[in-house]
C-alpha cells in the first residue's frame, strides 16, 4: 500500500510533535496552522490543480463552485479519471455521509453537503448519503434509539441543503445494512486484517468488537452493487466521494480492497478543515458551542459569536492596523468569507483592503455577519419546510429512473 501513513508511523517519525490528522482527532503542530501540503505528501493523494478546475467548468458548462475555485476542495485521488470517463459518457455516482452525533449541525458540517449538491447538479448524477447511526451509537456511546432519532433529524438538515429527491438516496445503517450491502461488507472485511485496522484506526485490545468491523460499513457504499435498487448488479459504475481530508484513511483502505474484489477504486475529492472561530489550529467541534456557527443560531447569536470569538488577524490597535495591515493567514473572518462569499471580485477587494490596513476588522466582520446571516436564514427556512414524509421519501428503497438525466 503506497505511503501508508498510520498513527504509529506519525508518532514514530517525529516523537509526537507533528500535526495529527485522524478521523477523530485533528491538531496542528505546536498549536500552529495545519500544513496541507505536507499532509498531501504524507497521505499520498494529489493536489487538485487549477487545470482540473477549468476542466470541470468545461465539462459541466457552468462556473465551478466557489469551494473549487478557492481551493477549499484541494486534494483528490483519481478525480481526473472520473472526468476522463465522464467525457466518454461513462457516468458515476456520488457517495457522502454523516455521523449523526449531535442534533445541531454547524457550518463546517454543511461544507461537504453544499459541495456535493453542486456536484450533483453540475454533473447530473445520483447520490447516496450514508447516516452512520451505528458508528455514533458505538463511538459516542448513545443508545440505538437516540442515534436513530438523531439520524432522522440530521437528514432534515441535509435535505434542506437542496438535494434532488429524484436523484438522491439517503439511508441509515440501522435500517439498510443487510442483503447485498451486507454481502459486500463481508467481501471487504475478508480483505482487511485486524492488524491493518489497528494501524489505520488505532484500535486496541480493549476496544469492543463492534468498532473493529465498522470500517467495512463505511466502505461498502463505495461499491455500486451495494445498491441493487439503483444499479442492479453492475460493477462497472464509478464512485466519487467528496469528504474532508481526515476521512482519507478510511478510503485508502477501501481503495486497496476494491481491485481485489473486482470493483473500480472509488475516487476522492477532499476538503480543508473548516476553521474553528477561535483559529486555524483545530477544527470545529460540536462540544464547544462557541467554536462554531450552528444552523440553528439566531442572527443575534451569529453577530455575537463573530464579534466576540472570531479570531482576528488585524492589528492590535487602529494605528498598528493601518500601518501593517491584517495578517490574512490567520484571520478567521476572511477565511470564512473565502468559503461563503459568492463574489470573487468582492473577496479579492476585501483581502486587498484589509491586508493593506485600509479596511478594519469590524467592517470585515460586519460583512461576514451579513453573509452568514443570510445563509443560515435560508437554511432554517428550508429546513422548516422539510416534512417527515419527505425524509421517508428520500430514505425509501426505490429505483431512481431519472438519476442520470
Amino acid at each position: 500500500m503506497a505511503a501508508d501513513v498510520t498513527r504509529d508511523n506519525l508518532e514514530e517519525s517525529n516523537g509526537g510533535e507533528e500535526q495529527v490528522i485522524t478521523p477523530w482527532e485533528v491538531s496542528a503542530k505546536d498549536g500552529g496552522r495545519i500544513d496541507y501540503d505536507k499532509l498531501i505528501l504524507q497521505f499520498g493523494c494529489q493536489k487538485l490543480e487549477e487545470s482540473l478546475v477549468k476542466r470541470v467548468e468545461r465539462l459541466t458548462g457552468k462556473p465551478a463552485h466557489p469551494f473549487l475555485r478557492r481551493g477549499v476542495f484541494f486534494a483528490h485521488r483519481e478525480f481526473d479519471k472520473i472526468l476522463d470517463n465522464y467525457e466518454k459518457g461513462q457516468k458515476f455516482y456520488l457517495y457522502t455521509g454523516r455521523g449523526p452525533s449531535s442534533e445541531s449541525l454547524h457550518l463546517g458540517h454543511l461544507v461537504p453537503f453544499l459541495f456535493t449538491k453542486y456536484l450533483q447538479d453540475a454533473f447530473k448524477v445520483p447520490l447516496v448519503i450514508q447516516l452512520t447511526d451505528d458508528e455514533k451509537c458505538m463511538w459516542k456511546n448513545i443508545t440505538v434509539e437516540e442515534s436513530r432519532r438523531l439520524a432522522r433529524e440530521n437528514a432534515k438538515d441535509i435535505i434542506a441543503c437542496g438535494f434532488d429527491v429524484s436523484r438522491t438516496f439517503i439511508f441509515c445503517d440501522f435500517d439498510y445494512v443487510g442483503g447485498n450491502f451486507y454481502q459486500n461488507m463481508i467481501r471487504i472485511a475478508k480483505c482487511v486484517t485486524l492488524n491493518q485496522v489497528r494501524g489505520i484506526f488505532g484500535f486496541t485490545g480493549e476496544d469492543h468488537i463492534g468498532k473493529v468491523s465498522f470500517p467495512a460499513v463505511q466502505a461498502a457504499p463505495s461499491f455500486p452493487t451495494s445498491f441493487p435498487h439503483l444499479f442492479g448488479d453492475s460493477k462497472d459504475v464509478h464512485c466519487l466521494i467528496p469528504c474532508a481530508i481526515d476521512q482519507d484513511p478510511y478510503f485508502r483502505m477501501t481503495r486497496d480492497v476494491a481491485p481485489r474484489i473486482g470493483f473500480h477504486k472509488p475516487a476522492l475529492i477532499e476538503s480543508l478543515f473548516f476553521p474553528a472561530l477561535q483559529g486555524e489550529s483545530g477544527k470545529m467541534s460540536a462540544s464547544d458551542p462557541n467554536s462554531a456557527i450552528y444552523v440553528t443560531d439566531s442572527p443575534k447569536d451569529i453577530k455575537n459569536k463573530i464579534n466576540k470569538y472570531a479570531f482576528s488577524g488585524g492589528g492590535a490597535t487602529i494605528e498598528e492596523h493601518r500601518k501593517h495591515g491584517a495578517n490574512l493567514e490567520v484571520d478567521v473572518p476572511v477565511k470564512y468569507l473565502s468559503f461563503f462569499l459568492e463574489s470573487d471580485e468582492e473577496l479579492a477587494k476585501i483581502k486587498e483592503e484589509y491586508g493593506a490596513g485600509r479596511m478594519l476588522t469590524g467592517e470585515v466582520k460586519l460583512r461576514l455577519i451579513d453573509v452568514l446571516g443570510k445563509m443560515v436564514d435560508r437554511h432554517q427556512k428550508a429546513r422548516a419546510a422539510v416534512t417527515d414524509e419527505m425524509v421517508d421519501a428520500f430514505m425509501a428503497v426505490r429505483p431512481l429512473p431519472q438519476m442520470f438525466s
Binding site: 437542496g162 428550508a382 419546510a385
Partner: protein, 331 residues
C-alpha cells in the same frame, strides 16, 4: 435602505406646507451645548432619548429639556418592571434610527427602519407654540410649530402619544401600569428582517404553530423565531401561483434597485448581477417545491399499494409509514 438625509427631510416638510426655520450652528452633542447657540430664541429646547427594554423593543422619548424624565419610574409605568429601560446601544442608533450620536430626534422616525420604535412625547409639547429638534444631524436645529410637528407625524402614519413624565404614579398590585398600552405585543417586535416577510409569515402561521408558541409549557418547545419562519416557504411551495408571484416579485424588486444605479451597468451585467443575487435562493425554493411534489406522489403511491387496507391506513397514516422505515429492508 439608506438613511433619509436632512435635505430630504426638509423638502418633505416643505411639501407638507410646513414653514420651519433651520438654525445652523457648530456640532453639539448635548442640550447644554445646543442652548449656548440657540438659547436666545426663548423657546425651550427638547431632549431626546433613545431607549431599549429587556425584550428588545425600542422607544424614543422626546421631552422639554426642563422636564424631568425618571427612567425607573417610566419603566414601571410602562409595565416593564423597575430597571426595564436602558439607553439603546449605538448600533441600534445606526441601524434603526439611522442618525449619528448626539442627533436623536423624532424626525428620525421618517426612516422606515424605525417603524416599530415607540414614540412618547412630553405632554407639555401641546402648549408650546414652537418646538426645537435636530433635523437628523446635530449641526443644526429646526424650529417648528406644534401644529406643524403634528402634521409631520401624521404624514409618517404616527399619532402623537403624550405622556406626563413628571406625574407621580404608583404602580402596584391593584394599580396597573398606566402607560402599558403603549408597549406593543411581542409578535410585532422590531427586527432587522425584511418587514414584508415577517408580516406575511405571521399571517400564515398554522394554528398548531401559534398554539405551541402561546403555551410555553407544552412539550413541543417551538423556539420563537420558528413561528415566523415556518409559514413562509410552506405557503410558497404549496401553491404554484404564489411561487411564481414570489419569483417575479423578487426579480422585479432586484431589477428596480439596480436600475436606479443605471450609470454603472450595461444590460447584460445588470442581468447577471440580478441572476447571481436572487438565483441561488430561487433555485433552492424550486428544488424544495419539486421534493415536496415528489413526496406527495410517494405517499400516494404507498397508500395505493396498500389496497384494501386503505381506510385503516388513512386513519393511521404516519404510524404505517414510520413502521416500514423502522422495520427496515423493503427489498
Amino acid at each position: 435602505m439608506a438613511a433619509v438625509s436632512k435635505e430630504a427631510l426638509l423638502s418633505r416638510l416643505q411639501g407638507l406646507g410646513i414653514n420651519s426655520i433651520v438654525h445652523e450652528h457648530p456640532v453639539v452633542m448635548t442640550v447644554e451645548e445646543q442652548s449656548k447657540h440657540i438659547g436666545h430664541l426663548g423657546t425651550t429646547l427638547s431632549k431626546n432619548l433613545f431607549l431599549k427594554d429587556k425584550k428588545g423593543r425600542l422607544y424614543l422619548v422626546s421631552a422639554l429639556a426642563t422636564t424631568t424624565v425618571d427612567l425607573k419610574a417610566l419603566s414601571q409605568r410602562l409595565g416593564l418592571g423597575k430597571g426595564g429601560l436602558r439607553m439603546a446601544p449605538e448600533d441600534a442608533l445606526q441601524e434603526i434610527l439611522k442618525v449619528p450620536l448626539g442627533s436623536v430626534t423624532p424626525f428620525a422616525l421618517i426612516n422606515p427602519s424605525s417603524r416599530s420604535v415607540i414614540l412618547l412625547l412630553d405632554h407639555q409639547y401641546q402648549n408650546q407654540p414652537k418646538l426645537l429638534f435636530h433635523p437628523l444631524v446635530n449641526d443644526s436645529t429646526i424650529e417648528i410649530s406644534n401644529g406643524d410637528f403634528n402634521l409631520f407625524l401624521k404624514s409618517i402614519d404616527r399619532t402623537p402619544s403624550y405622556v406626563d413624565f413628571e406625574a407621580v404614579v404608583t404602580v402596584g398590585k391593584d394599580q396597573p401600569p398606566d402607560l402599558a398600552g403603549f408597549v406593543t405585543e411581542l409578535a410585532e417586535q422590531p427586527s432587522s428582517l425584511d418587514t414584508k416577510q415577517s408580516i406575511a409569515s405571521t399571517q400564515n402561521c398554522s394554528i398548531k404553530e401559534v398554539a405551541s408558541a402561546k403555551f410555553p409549557n407544552s412539550k413541543l418547545k417551538v423556539p420563537k423565531e420558528k413561528v415566523h419562519i415556518e409559514g413562509e416557504f410552506q405557503k410558497l411551495i404549496r401553491d404554484p401561483q404564489e411561487l411564481v408571484n414570489h419569483i417575479l416579485d423578487e426579480t422585479i424588486k432586484a431589477t428596480m434597485e439596480k436600475v436606479k444605479d443605471v450609470t454603472h451597468y450595461t444590460d447584460t451585467s445588470i442581468s447577471n448581477e440580478i441572476k447571481s443575487q436572487i438565483g441561488p435562493d430561487l433555485q433552492n425554493l424550486i428544488m424544495l417545491f419539486k421534493n415536496t411534489a415528489y413526496t406527495q406522489g410517494f405517499v400516494a403511491g404507498e397508500q395505493y399499494s396498500l389496497g384494501e387496507d386503505l381506510v385503516s391506513a388513512f386513519a393511521s397514516r404516519s404510524s404505517v409509514v414510520r413502521g416500514r422505515s423502522e422495520s427496515g429492508r423493503c427489498y
